[in-house]
Amino acid sequence: MCDTCGCGMPSHEHAHEYESDHDGHVIELEMNVLAKNDVYAAANREHLASRGAVAINMISSPGAGKTTLLQQSLNQLKDWRPLAVVEGDLQTDNDARRIQGVGVPVHQINTNNGCHLDAHMVGHAYEHLSLATGSLVFIENVGNLVCPAGFDLGENATVVLLSVTEGDDKPAKYPVAFVNAQVMVITKTDLLPYVDFSMDRCKEFARAVNPDLEIIECSSRTGDGMDGWVAWVKRLANQVAS
């Protein structure tokens, strides 16, 4: 049974009614369109807090290297804390099988062509995973640099990945994902010699829309910069724990 289904709307959002000029009534509201998602997100936050767990929402275009970064990170973190992964894809369990290969509990969500994860789906994934106390949970969102950014999943932090092959102006072209993230991980830096990607320009674009954005450069393939990323993850988890 679902623990979170059937939650009511937040009680502070209410309606006032009066006669309209036409035949019917006008109901005046002041209600966030995503209020229901936010209720599920709050339930997810509570679920995590009750287990001393921490969740990181990972957003990027398809093919930016989320799963590969995850595989490498899990290998470095698996003796540190209990780990779990929520995988989001339109179809297939290919990514879940890659994570299983590292020996970490994983739950695959198939959105059946839905372009983003929402908090309700993630809540169900947590139930399937039965999170251990102190877990570090990575949520790999559906590969899409636009839609996932608008949906709170109840995560503790959002990370946006950008691979150097995508071009340095992505933060200017697709700003919402970068506005809502705490960290940008620039991936596939081993390919820098082969592409026209200016690290300075990319950082400038990103900071123009989010001045507080932390930026980490890494290559999952060579391992360069992985230490900085893993250190950030540990710092976040320790901060949440304290």
Partner: protein
């Protein structure tokens, strides 16, 4: 196309609120879409009638009011209307503009019939 999910939430709210008010039909839904909310009004308008089909809001009109984003420059204090996410002050070049509005996505009113 996350506007499809947004439209679904919108219709769900409209139908729930109409039911709570004892109304049978929703004829008009008014929403405020902030310029920095990440929602494209045209896409929302496209999805809305499709999602309304078979619900109490079938045939309802969607009235979208775009909320322009406003901010204040922390250095020169000028009030700025933001057309995008770039937070550089057009008057003095200071950075970052403090955003005051434009991120909301709200249902503001419904018109319903008994």
């Amino acid at each position: 196309m996350h506007e499809l999910s947004i439209a679904q939430s919108l219709v769900e709210i409209a139908c729930d609120q109409a039911e709570q008010a004892g109304a049978k039909r929703v004829t008009r839904v008014s929403v405020l879409v902030g310029l920095l909310s990440g929602v494209v009004p045209d896409s929302l308008s496209f999805c809305f009638p499709i999602v309304c089909q078979g619900t109490a809001a079938e045939g309802a009109e969607l009235a979208i009011q775009v909320d322009p984003a406003k901010g204040t420059c922390p250095k020169c204090g000028v009030s700025v209307e933001l057309n995008d996410f770039v937070l550089i002050c057009p008057s003095c070049g200071a950075f970052p503009i403090e955003v005051r509005s434009g991120r909301d996505l709200k249902v503001t009113a419904l018109e319903v019939e008994e």
